[in-house]
Symmetry: C2
Subunit: 447 residues, 2 copies
């Protein structure tokens, strides 16, 4: 089964919003055995939406759209769907009742615009949107004669007559229109759309597990050197197993993928053959975030951690705490932007700050040891650096970051130079990544 | 001028990577007067890339691609470009010298795979990639006879013969191929590509300021109620000014856009007419992040702030510290996951924790006041709640968050219910948003 996603909204094309929906949806679709062929982002523009719908159905079995389902004038997706599928809006009493229930404590959200949300396309199957007012619409099992949309019947010309003159849609092709609000889209996908698709195509062309990805995480080696190191192994891969290199922030994700032709076991055999070659650089044999990995190691080893942050400004703490259950190993952090906090809360000596400065090995060591003592943890990480864009000196240019790891066996510190060309956000992200990578290595070694 | 972006990479279509490049590029293109018509994401697949290149040129003047320029086997963009533009790879001595300079301290990154990076398409103009090895390629002013790519000359069939049988590309249409690594793409866009485009099309069809967006930030009103409130104003807008509603996390961004037909002054006049209607809900009259806005207010009023975080786990601190120069007003944070930290570092009374629990008005007030005293700041914000997915009780379900704001005029606290259906990440994000929104209101009132 092949799907395409069409994301609809001017905000995507002017860069006001990053499309995070598509990646999340792609993962979920892959899990149930549906591959994603293309993602297309278009404006809230009738002709453009009609054209890309037609094009998508010429290539895919399932088309998912997000966005344009709000109650305000700029949202036109529902009307364009009616036109595309030759149907009309009718009142849906279930959606009406649901919206009344949804807004029972918020009377100001129930008004004549909200009332347009319970008008739904007559030929669509409506799936409930438990947490929002926009109904999820499935156009499914529709008869070809229902597809009245033809270029000659519309008042305005569309981009290309020929593109719309053929009907690319035959059952069991289907379209699912989802809201663009990520929270609503995710719940609808998990609770409604994926079960619906799985049920509909069960035993047919849809086989969960058909699409298999296996990822290995590495650090400390350039991508090109890695590729040369494993060249013999890579050249021996069968053509139906795809290898990809994804370098980011000093980490390389090495991914093997198969679309229906290799089993999980077959991929595993290739992974097993690879591991001895890359052992020096290996972080994990799965596609796991560094924060999830370090959280699991800390939990397994029954160790605790605290952080003391200057240049990372809370980002290290926030990253570690994205993990559910982090309170089992994460005790707390002191974000010490101001030197007086470093001194009075973390116990960094005034002399150290005066003599070496805040961005120094001495300070960052005392910060790490200070927070470790303050919070009574096994490990502590401290960061201090110049995140920029201002604050750099010839001696300590923007991008200079000291990181210290205090452990039961003593304290280590390292200086990183992430480069003045990087933006503030990238420098703090690199610092967070390096802080966690080295802790993972410490935890792997300690054990 | 109309542009399209094509993002290339399997990782985008399997959801392993979120495409953040396109939104950033869209903003920059709009700034110089180039509108973005469509974003298309495709696999590292020769036929698919060839097809979407041809389609994009049928609609756009400028096509920008990202991704697929690495030295490893899975990256095929450069080869596909050669095929599309009927050219071949040749060695570029400047790129070669640049890469040697780039890796002079990293000899292990200089190897025979890296050497493939200084092979570039003969007909392309090469712009330097200051921070990476992948050259930026511009296919520009190319002659039509150079475009040897025809469906009959390729060995494999492509999706549709008719789609590729016409050449959609005539000067001054052009293509820019950029690396997918965000850091490299951004520097190349800022330093090379945008100046190149501006110079090339100067005085021609490209007019910076042609595309105008004006955004207003509001909070505390449902989208539908807002739309009814401003209905008269909205209906009086001329057809060439587009209005969009962007609700997210309790904030509504109301955006007016014009593509070459209205001046900045004309938009401003409509904004001026709008403001009296929405005064009660207004946060800002520009598209600014909440953290930038609160930072500016704190700096203007010469006030300082500290934070004490439980459920937000450092995210509030990290959000405030994304702003350059935040050290002028941001003193620090105590992330107090563990109750003993709340007690011993923040000075929350043991009795309070025992009697009311960590997620309570009493605790969060003492946390805010404690960190305000500890860090000697004017304001302090504290959070304590159940971010989930575990830890909820019938009394305090997942999504319950107490927030307190300690100010020179006393302390306020409020309880929020963000809903058990939301994910951990969404609950902490909502809490951070509400914490900052209320501080903005306090700062606006105080003044």
């Amino acid at each position: 089964m092949r799907a395409e996603i069409i994301t609809i909204g001017d905000e995507l094309l002017i860069g006001q919003v990053v499309d995070t929906n598509s990646a999340w949806m792609a993962q979920r679709l892959n899990e149930v055995g549906i591959s994603l062929h293309q993602i297309t982002s278009v404006h809230d523009n009738r002709e453009h939406i009609l054209t890309v719908l037609d094009e998508a159905f010429s290539r895919a079995d399932i088309v998912l759209t997000t966005g344009g389902l709000g109650p305000t004038k700029d949202d036109i997706t529902k009307h364009v769907m009616c036109e595309f599928f030759g149907t009309q809006l009718v009142e849906d009493s279930f959606v009406r009742a649901h919206i009344h229930e949804l807004y029972k404590d918020r009377p100001d959200a129930l008004n004549r615009l909200t009332a347009t949300q319970w008008l739904v396309p007559e030929s669509a199957t409506i799936l409930p949107n438990r947490v929002g007012s926009a109904p999820i619409m499935v156009f499914d099992e529709f008869k070809v004669e229902r597809l009245k949309f033809k270029v000659n019947e519309t008042s305005e010309a569309v981009t290309s007559d020929s593109q719309l003159s053929t009907f690319n849609i035959q059952p069991p092709k289907l379209l699912v229109a989802l809201p663009g609000v990520p929270h609503e889209m995710k719940i609808a996908m998990k609770e409604q759309v994926l079960p619906y698709l799985s049920l509909k195509f069960k035993g047919d062309s849809l086989k969960p597990g058909d699409i298999v990805h296996r990822t290995i995480l590495l650090s400390g080696i350039p991508e090109s050197k890695l590729a040369i190191l494993i060249e013999g192994w890579e050249n021996a891969l069968p053509s139906y197993i795809h290898l990809a290199y994804l370098p980011k922030d000093g980490i390389i994700r090495l991914r093997l993928s198969s679309y229906g032709e290799a089993t999980e076991e077959e991929l595993q055999a290739y992974i097993d053959a690879l591991l001895p070659l890359i052992n020096d650089y290996l972080l994990a044999t799965e596609d796991i975030s560094l924060e999830a990995l370090v959280g699991r190691l800390l939990k397994q080893q029954n160790k605790t951690i605290a952080t003391a942050e200057s240049c990372t400004g809370g980002r290290l703490a926030a990253t570690l705490n994205t993990q559910s259950g982090s309170s089992a190993y994460y005790m707390g952090s002191v974000v010490a932007y101001d030197n007086s906090i470093k001194e009075h809360v973390l116990g960094v000596q005034r002399d150290t700050l005066m003599q070496y400065g805040a961005v120094s090995e001495q300070t960052v060591r005392e910060m790490a040891e200070g927070v470790r003592a303050l919070m009574h943890t096994d490990f502590a990480i401290a960061t201090s650096g110049i995140a920029g864009p201002t604050g750099g000196t010839p001696d300590k240019p923007v991008g200079t970051v000291w990181i210290a790891w205090a452990t039961p066996n003593g304290t280590e510190a390292r200086c990183f130079h992430f480069g003045a060309a990087r933006e503030r956000e990238q420098i703090t992200q690199r610092a967070v990544t390096e802080a966690i990578v080295h802790l993972i290595k410490l935890l792997n070694t300690n054990h």
